[in-house]
């Protein structure tokens, strides 16, 4: 046989066999890292498939979500023209009026701000009013009864058969309302829905001027061309201050909203996966290093470079596939729990189904990420000389530098493409990749700098144990960079979560100062104002604000009418400006939440000329006007010429009544108006008592108890942060697994040394101290940088995304930093226990075989 005849190629099955033989004996070393891939994949698959489900559900249930094929809504009853349009569309199937009002439960006198829905007709046409008893949904109109939100009924301890008073009418509660089209999401927590027959709305006395009413006319027309309707009828309705909404456009809007949530969750999962990949890269690096001898032996025996490379590539890919498979299974199981976790934020019950694309993504991702991140160390197998069996060489790395650069580029490209696929936005994907690179670079840079500094300024005078622990940080095969990266990213995520939650909550905190209002009374008619003051004042409660409100719409912006602008497809004026009913006030000064940006605030109406008004900066921006531009308003039928006198910056986050348009005094005083009064109730019982009395005397007045709102905001933020925590948990758990794995790997590196120290007489507490100090340094440094980076990141978030001042919380410094350091310390110490408990030789035999 010609010795150089390469035609006899080794079969692929042999490579598989070798990969399996070797893998099964050394798999335990990579088990923890496979764990991190499993978690990352589980996170991605669960979220990916849930997002898919959500999308499908929104699409599939869009009619049920609206309850109709399309609707026409407006802030006022349909005028003649709208009625004509509706008739031309085949006539209304059902109509509804929706508004916020106070409800009083007769049984116990408790009051609550609710969303009243007066319904006429067989609404909904799709989906269902889910009630208890089920028959109540069908006969509440006939019985003249009310369907009351089930949660509110439990909260106020009322049952079917009790009564609820809305305005002047007391309704028997005929059923508890479990779900209803159009009453979904967080809004129902602030004002739970009560459905009553439409015919009782007028006699209730609640449909007064100033009440924020929303009329909706529902249509059942399954064959209608909705796109055509939207295109042709909507502009006609716009002119009448009405809108047409189709079930598809509503579900698209909803889909977009939940898409953003999905994307955010996907990114968190992706970070978990990336973290897992850091673990894979680090473990394979050490794993392959340990295998170099065996690879040299194989080459000695006649294995080619390709064969040895493939053996380990197959091994890693196999582990990735297995990790991907297990991760996918866990992900699909986790997906089942998502509807429970996200229940509060979902508009409907999500039906869970298996998403095959998510399964494919899980499996492909498992293999691809494992191979890609293992490629750099794997390349070393190619360059191992068989001479290694005779003497150790350490010039492997230098030979493969060029290949390593390609690997890094491939990783960056893959991360970018995956981010692009998740975000569907080039700019965001690029931003994400750059952000990840910066964070990783800072963490890696700091760890390298730290190692160099320790090396350069090594404290020679320190005790033996302290010196040894420091030495461990920069000696060959150290885990400093990997551990700092893993600890740093985990801490970064969890701290950012705390910082963000805290500044959002800080924004919502109500001043406990008795001069700050905590009860707001809306929809107060001019005639009721004095009576209300007379009710509140004798109780020793101050009237803090007495704000007049006049409603109006824009008729003309500069020299173009809004109808003209509506038809102009090239306009950059925001559409909401054209259709919005503005609630305007008049006063002679700025308030604490306002800051003048340009022009001069005019206190009093001048003798002649147009009315100088003040606009909030967002309105000026969206209406494309500056100081000096003219605006024509339609004040309930009367046209009023105004000029932009000033532009204000408004802190909308402040818990006080802010206005986008402010008129000077001396012009609107006689216009039809209503009022908002505020007071401060020192405690809950005073507040409840006052509310009960006000509802009894002034049924049309809506009362907002800021104390309750804050509690609600807190609970919503708690729920949001719980969801984010749940997702961050994946990253943190992955981080911990990477941490345990890295520490365990470093254990293999150090075990000989610890045993040697033990052999030459080191006491248990000395070895313990060396280990403890090393992990203490790593823990403090990693979590410290993580917290500092998150401080910076949160500040950027606060500034650019939430546009709110950043007030850092102490929790990350007081709890997260020491907590994670302690965790690192515990894991590090627990790994060294075997060295301390057993005789040196036994440990060496066990650990090195």
């Amino acid at each position: 046989m010609n010795p150089l005849d390469t035609s006899t190629k080794t079969r692929f099955s042999w490579l598989l066999k070798m990969a399996w033989r070797d893998g099964k004996a050394s798999g335990k070393r990579l088990f923890l890292f496979m764990g991190s891939i499993i978690l990352g994949i589980a996170a991605v698959v669960s979220i990916q498939s849930f997002s898919q489900n959500l999308k499908e559900n929104i699409g599939g249930q869009s009619k049920a979500l609206m309850g109709a094929d399309f609707l026409i809504d407006s802030n006022e009853l349909a005028n003649e023209r709208v009625q004509q349009i509706m008739d031309s569309l085949g006539g209304v199937g059902a109509k509804e009026v929706k508004f916020a009002s106070m409800a009083a439960f007769v049984k116990n006198g408790e009051t609550k701000l609710v969303q009243v829905r007066g319904v006429e007709g067989n609404f909904p046409f799709y989906g269902e009013l889910e009630t208890e008893p089920a028959s109540a949904a069908a006969d509440y109109q006939e019985k003249g009864g009310a369907l009351v939100d089930a949660t509110a009924m439990i909260q106020f301890d009322v049952r079917v058969g009790d009564s609820v008073k809305l305005g002047n009418i007391t309704f028997p509660i005929v059923g508890s309302l479990i779900t209803a089209p159009g009453s979904t999401g967080i809004g129902t927590s602030v004002a739970p829905p009560i459905i009553v027959p439409f015919e009782y709305m007028e006699p209730s006395g609640l449909l007064q001027k100033g009440s924020r009413l929303e009329y909706a006319y529902y249509f059942k027309s399954p064959k209608a061309d909705l796109e055509q309707l939207d295109k042709e009828v909507d502009p006609l309705l716009d002119e009448q201050n009405a809108d047409l909404d189709t079930h598809t456009s509503t579900s698209d809007r909803l889909g977009r909203r939940y898409n953003n949530v999905g994307r955010f969750l996907n990114l968190v999962a992706f970070i978990a996966l990336l973290l897992g990949c850091v673990g894979i890269a680090s473990s394979v690096h050490i794993y392959i290093k340990e295998k170099l001898r065996a690879i040299a032996v194989l080459k000695c025996l006649g294995a080619t470079r390709k064969q040895t490379f493939l053996i380990y590539l197959i091994q890693i890919a196999g582990m990735g596939l297995l990790g991907g498979f297990i991760g996918t299974v866990i992900g699909l199981l986790l997906q089942q729990t998502f509807p429970m976790i996200l229940q509060e934020f979902l508009p409907f019950e999500v039906e869970i189904s298996t998403s095959y694309s998510a399964i494919a993504v899980g499996l492909i991702l498992g293999v691809l990420m494992s191979v890609l991140f293992a490629l750099s160390p794997l390349l070393n197998t190619w360059f191992v000389s068989p001479l290694q069996v005779l003497r150790v060489q350490d010039n492997i790395g230098t030979k493969s530098r060029k290949a390593q650069i390609w690997v890094v580029l491939a990783i960056v490209l893959f991360v970018f493409l995956f981010a692009l696929w998740l975000l569907e936005n080039l700019k965001y994907a690029l931003g994400f990749v750059i952000g990840i690179l910066i964070t990783f670079s800072i963490l890696a840079g700091v760890s390298i700098l730290f190692m160099r500094l320790v090396k350069k300024y090594f404290p020679k005078s320190w005790s033996f144990t302290s010196r040894q622990s420091l030495l461990n940080l920069f000696r060959p095969n150290n885990q400093t960079a990997v551990l700092i990266l893993a600890i740093g990213i985990g801490t970064f995520l969890i701290s950012t979560l705390y910082f963000t939650k805290d500044f959002l909550l800080a924004k919502a905190v109500v001043d406990s100062n008795e001069k700050s209002p905590n009860i707001i009374m809306f929809d107060v008619q001019t005639g009721q104002k004095q009576d209300i003051i007379n009710t509140v004042a004798p109780k020793g409660l101050p009237i803090l604000d007495n704000i007049p409100i006049v409603t109006m719409r824009m008729e003309r912006i500069k020299d173009r009418s809004v109808n003209e602008i509506r038809l102009d497809t090239t306009t950059s004026i925001n559409k909401w400006i054209l259709n919005h009913e503005f609630r305007v006030t008049y006063r002679d000064s700025l308030i604490s939440s306002e800051k003048l940006v340009s022009g001069a605030f005019v206190e009093k109406m001048p003798q002649n000329g147009p009315v100088p008004i003040s606009l909030a900066d967002n309105v000026a921006r969206d209406a494309q006007v500056v100081v000096g531009d003219t605006l024509l308003f339609n004040v309930q039928g009367m046209l009023m010429e105004t000029v932009v006198g000033s532009i204000r910056e408004v802190d909308w986050g402040r818990m006080q009544l802010n206005f986008s348009i402010v008129f000077p005094t001396g012009i609107l005083e006689n216009a039809p108006q209503f009022h908002v009064l505020t007071t401060n109730a020192p405690d809950k019982s005073t507040s409840a008592k006052l509310q009960r009395e006000l509802v009894k005397k002034f049924p049309n007045v809506s009362i907002l108890d800021l104390r309750q709102v804050i509690t609600l905001i807190e609970s919503i933020l708690d729920k949001i942060s719980w969801v984010i925590s749940f997702m961050a948990f994946f990253s943190i758990l992955t981080g911990i697994i990477v941490l345990i794995g890295s520490v365990r790997n470093s254990k293999y590196q150090r075990i000989r040394e610890s045993v040697l120290l033990r052999t030459i007489g080191a006491k248990s507490n000395q070895i313990l101290k060396i280990t403890a100090l090393e992990y203490l340094y790593l823990g403090i440094l990693g979590s410290g940088i993580g917290v500092l980076l998150s401080l910076l990141g949160s500040q950027l978030l606060a500034y650019f995304i939430f546009e709110t001042p950043f007030i850092p919380s102490w929790i990350p410094f007081l709890i997260v930093l020491p907590g994670i350091t302690l965790l690192v310390l515990t894991i590090g110490l627990s790994n060294n226990i075997s060295v301390l408990k057993s005789p040196p030789l036994q440990v060496l035999r066990k650990e090195t075989n």
Partner: protein, 229 residues
């Protein structure tokens, strides 16, 4: 008899910092097929380097090596690997068994690389021959040093190589075990007609071979051929 190894004017240097260290200089010798041959010398004399070069594990700086009729400098890494697999066997001082493979799998690997059928049978026969018939499924860590070296012997002879290189084969064994391993090595060598090249500093072991060259400071200081008794 045909020459199986022909070494001519061999020179090998290594870089040590900025200095160049000459490890082997002007080495020439040849080995006939079927001969037993030993390379002896003190530590640092260049024995192991010479073995590595002759077996195609490293490249020469100057000179030439012809192994089994093939000029090694003309082969690339993969061709060298193929040549080793088909023509060469190895025994190392520290056994160099693959730690994650059982004794049987270790012996099977070179045959599997050749793509031969029934490798298990051949491997089992060889393990029987070296007295490890009951230890097929044991991993190297579960075997003593002597047993590991016997597995290495079985592996080295599994492909019936033309030439076998042994680097200090008894270096890590006690005297008694070492003697048994050497006895086995020579028995198998005789049975299979393999050319045997032993690198050792053990003169008693070297005396068992037909030819001995002595190295010192990277040069051959004597080239001795013994008369067969």
């Amino acid at each position: 008899m045909a020459k199986i190894l022909n070494v001519r004017n061999l020179r090998k240097t290594y870089k040590s910092g900025s200095k160049e260290l000459t490890v082997l200089d002007g080495i020439s010798f040849e080995i006939e097929a079927g001969e037993t041959f030993s390379i002896v010398g003190p530590s640092g004399s260049g024995k192991t380097t010479l073995l590595g070069l002759c077996a195609g594990l490293d490249h020469v700086d100057e000179g030439s090596i012809e192994l089994c009729g093939v000029e090694l400098s003309k082969l690339n890494e993969d061709e060298l690997a193929l040549l080793r697999n088909r023509k060469v066997g190895f025994i190392f001082q520290d056994f160099q068994l693959l730690p994650t493979l059982t004794a049987l799998e270790n012996v099977s690997v070179p045959l599997e690389l050749q793509g031969k059928p029934d490798v298990q049978k051949v491997a089992k026969d060889l393990l029987e021959k070296v007295g490890l018939g009951s230890r097929y499924d044991h991993y190297p860590s579960q075997l003593s040093g002597g047993e590991q070296q016997r597995v290495a012997l079985a592996r080295a002879f599994s492909t019936t190589p033309d030439i076998l290189f042994a680097d200090e084969p008894t270096g890590n064994l006690d005297e008694e075990t070492g003697e048994k391993v050497i006895q086995l090595l020579f028995e198998l060598n005789k049975e299979m007609g393999t050319t045997l090249v032993i690198v050792t500093h053990d003169l008693d072991l070297a005396q068992l071979t037909q030819k001995i060259i002595r190295l010192k400071g990277g040069k051959i200081i004597s080239n001795q051929t013994k008369t067969l008794a």
